[in-house]
């Protein structure tokens, strides 16, 4: 097992290096001079643009900039915000817990709703319940987060006054954003649980469990569900990436602080070091999350380790 973990850790190092390189190249090779773009809003003179270029080290050769960026990133130094002059790492770390809280809560909502819909559909295969569950799953993935968010705000905040529309700090503030984000993600989980359950329900050990006279509830909960949920773990990694991206819109709709809100704000203000740092960190978290999921999958299903 340790050997497998070691192997997976080693293979994720080039990916992390690649992600860092890609972020650097995107910021330096795409059309547009970052210094000019940053000063465009304030209408800076060519002298101030040159000064900013020098301050950011953009007048150095590309390989020098790359080496400096990589060395600084390894030390956790992602530069300073153009507007607040605060270290980017510190700014991001302040916002990160809010986003992680939202993403984890949304993931729980997605798993609960997705699993329930998937099981209901599989147990009632080719009936109206199956069709209804599949349609709900597809519809959930089709509703834009920003629209469902606004609808919930209208219903639960403006009309019923049950939940706060914006802000953060309590569980009440988390319910609507997590539901909206989780619902959008539950569709893929529901479809996967359905197909996985259908496959497991056709296995011989399920027939054996039924022939022993076990109740259907025991057969489903104790024998089928446990095995059917294994593939769901793999999709959780992909879903986490989706949720991480989804927090950008959700945080904007519900005026929550977080990484997504920080990125959008930084893009609008052309604060490139913050954009660069946030995107880099999000990609690194996503890569590490996939690594953790791979490892947990290998723990649950030992066959994976020998592939």
């Amino acid at each position: 097992m340790l050997q497998y973990i070691g192997r997976r850790l080693i293979t994720s190092i080039p990916v992390l290096w690649g992600v860092t390189t890609l972020v650097f190249l995107m910021m330096h090779l795409l059309p547009g001079d970052p210094a000019e773009l940053m000063m465009a809003e304030s209408g800076g003179s060519s002298q101030s643009i040159a000064q900013l270029s020098h301050q950011l080290g953009l007048d150095d050769p590309l390989y020098v900039q790359y080496g400096r960026f990589l060395a600084n990133a390894l030390r956790g130094d992602l530069g300073r915000s153009i507007f607040t002059n605060r270290p980017v790492t510190q700014t991001i770390l302040e916002q990160l817990p809010h986003t992680v809280q939202l993403a984890v809560a949304a993931m729980m909502v997605a798993i609960i709703i997705g699993t329930a819909l998937g099981i209901a559909a599989a147990l009632n295969r080719n009936t109206w319940v199956d069709s209804l569950c599949v349609t709900i799953a597809v519809a959930g993935a089709s509703v834009p987060i920003f629209w469902s968010g606004l609808l919930l705000i209208l219903l639960f905040s403006s009309l019923l006054h049950w939940l706060p529309a914006t802000g953060q700090g309590s569980l009440k503030h988390l319910i609507m954003p997590a539901t909206v984000l989780g619902l959008a993600s539950s569709g893929s989980i529901a479809r996967l649980v359905r197909s996985s359950m259908l496959e497991v329900l056709g296995q011989e050990y399920i027939t054996a469990a039924r022939s022993k006279g076990l109740s259907e509830r025991l057969v489903v909960c104790r024998h089928a569900l446990k095995n059917a949920l294994i593939p769901v773990i793999t999709v959780m990694g992909l879903q986490f990436g989706y949720l991480l991206g989804g927090t950008v819109v959700t945080e904007t709709v519900f005026s929550r602080q977080g990484l997504g809100w920080l990125v959008v704000d930084a893009i609008l203000w052309k604060d490139f070091p913050v954009v660069q740092g946030s995107v880099l960190l999000a990609a690194a978290i996503y890569t590490l999350m996939n690594l953790l999921i791979d490892i947990s999958y290998a723990i649950i299903d030992p066959r994976i380790r020998y592939d």
């Binding site: 059309p31 834009p144 629209w147 990436g241």
Partner: protein, 298 residues
């Protein structure tokens, strides 16, 4: 002339009901959800094309005296803050949203297809380089990659299309590469190689038609993602800019008047949902119809 002992299967020797495109069409016809979605999308495309003729008002016409009017016989979906007719803006919005989706899918699929074909057919170091770059791109959550590209190119609809398109390239490259790896081992490809076909002819004449089905399914499902992502970017103020009648941007404009005028956000929200739902259902239907495993079982 002697008769062949084992005739080569041709259109004439295969029973009509087993000809693959016809099997696919039959399967698709049986799927009511996919058919309904296809009908909706055909109507939507027609609406988008003939929007100037169908729209009762100019979508950009400001009429301050008619602001925030409830839906009525005069304004079917009401008016917005500037007194613009929401129904007319919706019709023109269909044009923008569908165009954004299709262009983004083309931007994603064409390079993705070419890179996947090169990686899968050539193998070796070219494959290694292409796939490592794709792995790096896949390490970014899709919308975040699109966001960072918009950050550099600047807000605006064309840039949003490019950003969403670029973010979609890795999924096509991966799919095409894996399909090519399977197809290049098939007998007809080996036969083409044995009779001396050139590499490009094998790729375009023999491999490409064989891998077309999964690419078509991915493109359909990707269209839904592209429409959603582009409207999300517009909602965030990074895609279509006011006063362009884009559904995501329209939702953003109505945000501040949620209580006083919920119809401003209701109509574009419903339009996005129905379009994305239809594309998703059609993509699912296509996947089921084209899945050879399902076909052999059926």
């Amino acid at each position: 002339m002697t008769k062949r002992r084992f005739p080569i299967p041709t259109r004439k020797t295969i029973p009509r009901r087993e000809i693959p495109p016809l099997v696919t069409r039959r399967r698709l016809r049986r799927n009511k959800g996919a058919l309904l979605s296809l009908a909706f999308l055909v109507i939507l495309t027609a609406v988008a094309i003939f929007a100037p003729a169908l729209a009762p008002y100019d979508p950009l016409d400001v009429a301050v005296e008619e602001q925030l009017l409830l839906p009525s016989s005069k304004h079917w979906a009401g008016t917005d803050l500037f007194g613009r007719d929401i129904f007319s803006r919706l019709l023109f919005g269909a044009r923008v949203s569908l165009l954004v989706g299709v262009v983004a899918v083309v931007i994603a699929s064409v390079p993705g297809l070419v890179l996947g074909l090169i990686a899968g057919y050539n193998g070796r170091w070219i494959d290694g380089i292409i796939m490592r770059v794709m792995d790096m791109m896949l390490a970014f959550p899709g919308i975040l990659l699109a966001l960072s590209i918009v950050a550099l190119l600047g807000p605006g609809l064309p840039n949003a299309m490019i950003a969403v398109g670029i973010a979609g390239i890795p999924s096509y490259t991966r799919l095409v590469r894996s399909s090519v790896l399977v197809t290049r081992r098939k007998q007809f490809v080996r036969a083409a190689y044995a009779v001396g076909c050139r590499g490009w002819r094998i790729v375009f004449r023999h491999i490409l038609p064989d891998i077309f089905a999964p690419v078509l399914v991915l493109a359909t499902l990707d269209l839904a993602w592209a429409i959603l992502s582009a409207s999300s970017l517009s909602f965030l103020g990074l895609g279509a800019q006011p006063p362009a009648p884009e559904w995501g941007a329209m939702l953003n404009e109505g945000r501040g008047y949620l209580r006083q005028a919920p119809w401003i956000t209701a109509a574009p929200g419903l339009a996005i949902m129905l379009t994305v739902l239809s594309v998703n259902l059609l993509g699912d239907g296509l996947r089921d119809a084209l899945d050879p495993q399902l076909r052999t079982r059926g």
